[in-house]
Symmetry: C2
Subunit: 344 residues, 2 copies
C-alpha cells in the first residue's frame, strides 16, 4: 500500500516480480497468457509503485498516437468570436477523452498557417483530424485528404470530396422560421446573411427562399442582404433597410449577434418588436434569452455534433468505416418574444 518511489520502466517491475517484461505488459493490457497468481503479484507491484507505463513507448510500438487533432482558426473574423466554438470544443474533448483519446489542439493564425497541422499529421502525432467550419475554399481540406488521414469535417458539407462530415439542418431551420413568420402574417421579409462561401450561411439562405417560394403568396416581398455577421453590421444594415424598405415587417438574421444589432437599431428608431417588425436570430447565444424582447432563434445541436464527429472518426480509425458517411443533425427552433410567439 505504501506508495514507494515510482518505478520507471516495465522491466523494473518485471525484475521485482521475478518475471520478464512481456509478462508485465500482458498484465497491464489485461491480456491472457498469465497465471492468476502471477497476475495478482504483478498487479500489486504496479499499484505499490504507482506505475503507469510510458505513453510514448507504447505509442511507438503500437504505431498509433491514441490522440486526435482538432484544428481551430484564430483571428479569422467570420469564425473567431463565434460563440458556438467553446461548446463544440468541449463536446469533442469530452467524447474523445471518454474514448481514451487525447485531444491535440491546433490553432492557425496570420503567421502560422496549416503547415504545422500537416506536419504533425505526417509525423503521426495524431491518428485523425477534426476540422470545424472550414469554408469551401479551405486548402487544408485537400491537403489533409491527400495525406490519407482519417478526417471529419464539421459544419461544412463537402460533397465533392470523399470526406466524412457532420452538419445540422441550417436550411430546415430557416425554412421553418420563415414559414412561421409568413403564417403569422408577415409579408415584407429581409434576410440578413453572411457570405455564401460559408456553407452554413448558404444553407440558411436556401431555407429562407424555399419558404418564401413554397408559401406562394405573390403579396410577399422578400430580399436578402449579405454582409459580415456582427453587431455593428446589424445596426448599419437595419438603418439602411428602414430607409430603403420602410414597409419591412420581419428581419431574419443568420446570427444572434447581428440580431442584437438589429434590435438595438430598431429600438433607437422607435420601432416596436414584434409589434412593427419581427426579428429572428441564429445560434441561441446567452443574449437571445436575455434581450428585450427575448429573441426567437435557432439552437444547433453542438454537443451532439461534437460527439458525432468523434464517434465517426473513431469508427474510421477502427477500420469499421471505409466510405464517407455524412451526418445531418436536427436544429431546434426557439420561439420567443421577438416574433410574438411568446408574450412578455
Amino acid at each position: 500500500m505504501s506508495q514507494s518511489e515510482q518505478a520507471t520502466t516495465i522491466r523494473e517491475i518485471a525484475a521485482l516480480a521475478g518475471v520478464s517484461g512481456g509478462t508485465v505488459s500482458r498484465v497491464m493490457n489485461e491480456k491472457p497468457g498469465v497465471g492468476p497468481e502471477t497476475r495478482a503479484r504483478i498487479k500489486a507491484l504496479i499499484a505499490e509503485h504507482d506505475f503507469h507505463g510510458d505513453a510514448t513507448a507504447r505509442q511507438l510500438s503500437r504505431g498509433r498516437s491514441d490522440s486526435l487533432g482538432i484544428v481551430f482558426p484564430l483571428q479569422v473574423s467570420e469564425v473567431v468570436m463565434h460563440p458556438v466554438y467553446p461548446e463544440l470544443l468541449g463536446a469533442i474533448s469530452d467524447a474523445a477523452q471518454d474514448a481514451g483519446y487525447d485531444v491535440i489542439l491546433f490553432t492557425t493564425n496570420a503567421s502560422r498557417g496549416v503547415e504545422h497541422v500537416l506536419d504533425s499529421v505526417k509525423r503521426k502525432r495524431v491518428d485523425g483530424l477534426i476540422l470545424p467550419a472550414a469554408s469551401s475554399d479551405d486548402p487544408l481540406i485537400a491537403q489533409v485528404e491527400s495525406t490519407g488521414t482519417p478526417t471529419v469535417l464539421i459544419g461544412h458539407r463537402q460533397r465533392a470530396r470523399r470526406i466524412t462530415w457532420v452538419d445540422c439542418t441550417h436550411d430546415e431551420a430557416l425554412y421553418a422560421m420563415t414559414t412561421s413568420l409568413l403564417l403569422a402574417g408577415r409579408r415584407a421579409l429581409t434576410l440578413f446573411n453572411g457570405p455564401k462561401r460559408i456553407s452554413a450561411y448558404d444553407l440558411r439562405a436556401q431555407g429562407f427562399w424555399r419558404a418564401i417560394r413554397e408559401f406562394g403568396d405573390p403579396a410577399v416581398r422578400a430580399n436578402e442582404k449579405v454582409f459580415d455577421m456582427g453587431f455593428v453590421g446589424g445596426v448599419e444594415a437595419t438603418e439602411t433597410l428602414l430607409r430603403e424598405v420602410p414597409a419591412t415587417d420581419a428581419i431574419v438574421c443568420s446570427a444572434d449577434i447581428t440580431a442584437a444589432g438589429v434590435l438595438d437599431a430598431l429600438a433607437r428608431s422607435g420601432f416596436a418588436v414584434p409589434g412593427d417588425i419581427a426579428v429572428t436570430g441564429f445560434d441561441d447565444i446567452d443574449f437571445a434569452s436575455h434581450s428585450t424582447p427575448t429573441l426567437s432563434t435557432v439552437r444547433m445541436p453542438l454537443h451532439e455534433t461534437g460527439a458525432t464527429a468523434v464517434s465517426l472518426l473513431l469508427e474510421m480509425l477502427g477500420g469499421g468505416l471505409t466510405t464517407p458517411e455524412p451526418r445531418i443533425l436536427e436544429t431546434t427552433l426557439v420561439e420567443r418574444e421577438s416574433t410574438g410567439s411568446v408574450t412578455p
Copy 2:
C-alpha cells in the same frame, strides 16, 4: 521535385543517400558533423520524399513529449460559460505552438475527474501543465505538485505552495473603478460579487473595500452581495437591492454578464443609468460595448496572460527557472456610458 511516395523511416532515406541513419538524423536536426555536400544530398532526398520523421520515436529517444497539457473544467457553473476562456485558450495555444510545443487539451466533467490528467502526466504524455482558474481548494493542484511536473497556474494566486502562477490586478482594477465612482459623487455603492473561494472575486472585493476605506468619507455607504455571477442573479439581486437600499446610486459588478442583468432590471424599474444609478462590470465581453448604455468595465490582459504562462512554463522546462516566479499583469479600466464617463 517530384513528390514520390513518401518514405517511412530515417533509415530508408539513409539507404537512398548511401549513409547511415545517424547522419540523416543529424541533418534533420541541423546538427554539425555532416559534410556540406552530404548534407545537401540528404536534404534533397528528404524534400523529394516529403519525409518528416516520426514524432513518437523522436519523443521516446529524447525523453520528452514536446507537448504541454492545459486543463479546463467543463460544467462547473462558476467557470464554464465564462467568456474569457476561449481567448485565453487561444493565446496559450498560439504561444505554445510558436515555441514548437503541442497543446493537449484536458477537460474534466462530472464523470471524468482529474485522474485522467494525472495519469497522462505520469505516462509522460505532457512535459508540463497549465491550469487555469483552479480555485483554492482544488485537489488537482496538490496532486500535480506531488508529481513534480512543471506547472503554471492561471488566475489563482497559490501563495502557500511552491507553484508558479500568473494573475492580473483584479484588486487594483476595482480599486480604481470604485474610486472613480466616488470621485464622481456616488455615495451609496453596492458590490455584486461571486464566491470568495474564487481568487479573482476575493481580490475584486478587496479592491472595492480598500477604495471605500481610503476615500475616507463617512457619508459613503457601501455593501456587498455575494451570489453566483450570472444574468439572472444580477436581475434578482438588483430587484432586492432597490427594495432594501432605495438610495443606491452605484452598482459595481464582478462580471459583465451580471451587470447585463442589472441594466435589464434597472430599465424595467424605470431607473436611468447612469443618471440615477451607475453600473460597472468586469471582463469586457462583447455585450459591454453594445449595451444601452454601454458598460464601463475592466479588461483583463488575456492574451498576455496566456503567453506569459507558456513562457514561464517553457523556462521551467528549460531548467532556467527553479524557484516559483509569480507574475501579476495589468488590467485596463474601460470607462463607458454606464458610469457617465462617456456621453452617448
